[in-house]
């Protein structure tokens, strides 16, 4: 017996909000990355729920794309973090604001 659709959507919304606030409040880039993953997976959950609810495969397929992009993004992001860490021995994102000028 499956739970009805709104449950899944509420869960997804909660996960997404946690992700948003995690991203905004934490200063550690690794945590921020995890928050992004959380948001992406919240979206994934919405996709699969609707796919199931509507009996369409489209949502399920899109989830694979999202996962691929998430993996690629992590690779790039971690690369940047590692190189910043090597240069500064500290990875507080608020200290990295040279883009301003």
């Amino acid at each position: 017996m499956l739970a009805p659709l709104p449950h899944y959507l509420i869960l997804s919304a909660l996960l997404f909000t946690i992700g948003v606030f995690g991203f905004l409040y934490r200063k550690n880039p690794l945590i921020m990355f995890m928050s992004i993953e959380l948001m992406l997976n919240a979206a994934n959950l919405t996709f699969v729920s609707f796919a199931r609810y509507l009996g369409s495969l489209n949502g399920q397929v899109i989830v694979f794309f999202v996962m691929t992009i998430a993996a690629a993004e992590v690779v790039v992001g971690l690369g940047i973090i590692v190189s910043i860490f090597r240069a500064r021995a500290d990875i507080d994102v608020d200290d990295v604001h040279l883009l301003k000028d």
């Binding site: 991203f23 994102v93 608020d94 990295v96 604001h97 040279l98 301003k100």
Partner: protein, 633 residues
Amino acid sequence: MVSNVWLVLLFPLVGFLWCVFFGRLWPRLSGWIAVLMVGLSFVSAVSVLVGVLALPANDRLRVGELYPWISSGAVSIPLNIFVDPLASVMIVVVTGVAFLIHVYATGYMSGDPGYGRFFAYMNLFVFSMLLLVLAGNFLLLMVGWAGVGLCSYLLIAFWFEKPEAAAAGVKAFVVNAIGDAGLILAASLILITFKSLDYVTVFRVAKTTVTLGSGEITAITLLLLVAAVAKSAQLPLYVWLPDAMAGPTPVSALIHAATMVTAGVYLIARASPLFTLAPFTMTVIAWIGAITALFAATIGLVKPNIKRVLAYSTVSQLGYMFLAVGVSAFGAGIFHLMTHAFFKALLFLGAGAVIHALDGEEDMRNMGGLRTRMPLTYVTFLIAALAISGFPLLSGFYSKDEIISLAFTSPRGSVILGVIALFTAGLTAVYIFRVVFVTFHGKSRVSHHLSEHLHEPGMAMALPLVILAVLAAIGGYVQFPGEGFVDFLQPSFSTFGVTPAVEQGLNVGLAAASIVLSVGGILIAYLIWGQSLVTAENLGKMFAPIRTVLLNDYGIDALYSMTIVALARGLGRLFADIFDGLILNGIIDSLAGLVSGLSVVIAKLETGYVRSYAVAVLAGAILIVAFMARGGL
């Protein structure tokens, strides 16, 4: 073949493009390619002339349309090429003389850092002139006309690191721009009056509809005359030509003999169907020509710079051509144009050989006695000098004699014009033989270290001298065998109802008078500068005031710089300081200030903190969601 005429235009254009792209990479090769292209163009031009000669005498006009160029409403201007006896003679003279000058230049310019650039300009010069000659309508003529002006600027200012060369180039360009303005206005008036710019249409319509001496035809021809006067360096717009001597000597030869100054005479001959309808303009042309001829010849008597004397000589000889076309002797004018091309090119190339040997020395006071050291140059220069003085049996004698006699006998001529022409012929002999005696005879005044290196020009420079010497000697005989030169040109004018004045047999009295004057002139020059019977110094002291006036060009240059140049300077200052400096600059500056001020404000949005961007993204996302929740707009 007449249909090959496009080749005449194509070759110099190809040469120009080659030199533009590869002239820096392979200068020597590019120089030879430029020579080859002008040579091929000459061969094509000769084949065109032969083709025209093969046509029946009353049907020698061919117009070929390359493609429709401008088509707008009732006006359509095709890119058309116009071949008739006049044009075919012109292209042969232009390409022939230009070819010899190109060959000469490969020797003269060797070692110059701008070698490839020089030949690019030279080929473009020849191409522009050929376009001018072969154009079938006034608009295409204008393209060639402007191209010739541009190239003269580029070549006069070729050694642009010398301030006087750069200034001379600008001067030539500005004076020519006055002429260009005249040509543009004339073409506009022609378009309004005849609803066409095509030669054939315009001339046919003019013949049938225009009344003799009406206001509009006089205006058109006077404007065309302004253009011709500027290009052909006649009074009062001659001032650019003597200064143009700042360019390399082959350029002077090209400008004076083949490609530039003859354009004005050609324009008048080409548009003769219009000019003959305006008797007033014709009178003006004849008088401008006669006065310029006399005026420039007198200045030529005193100038110490060898190239400047030749420059004034060109102005004077062009005056003869203007006099000829002004008394409707179009054929005689073109005849003199051709013989002049030969001997003036030769004079310049000879002078160039001397200057080259003396390492750039142009002042005759530092020459002298070169006869023994440079015999070949001396002999060829002497032939050219005899030809230009109108010495019997040489080319200049026939052409100049024809002009003098027509100045007397043509219905438009008069005794005064004829007497001026005759007197100037004598002056011509004096000033040119002054150059001969001062440069080649007497004691050498060459500085010691230069005189050790004195040398005859190399093969590339000597060969054109010899060929041109032959042409300058026998070039006059094209007038005699079978169908004479002037008769051959006749259809170019008579097709459109023009009846040029033609010499009725040789006028023995006049011929004798001009022989006496030319030989007398040579004798006077010999006595003064050859034998020092009256030394030039004493002569100069005796006529000191006159000499000063002549040395200063009758004060014309000074007059221009005091009035026109000063006025233009003042206007320029006004616009530069007030209009440009305050108004235009103010607008631009305040706009720029506005933008940079705004950017300072906007830049505040950029904090550099990742999380503030994240907030912006979130806000944007919320806005989009809200927008979609509202159901779009």
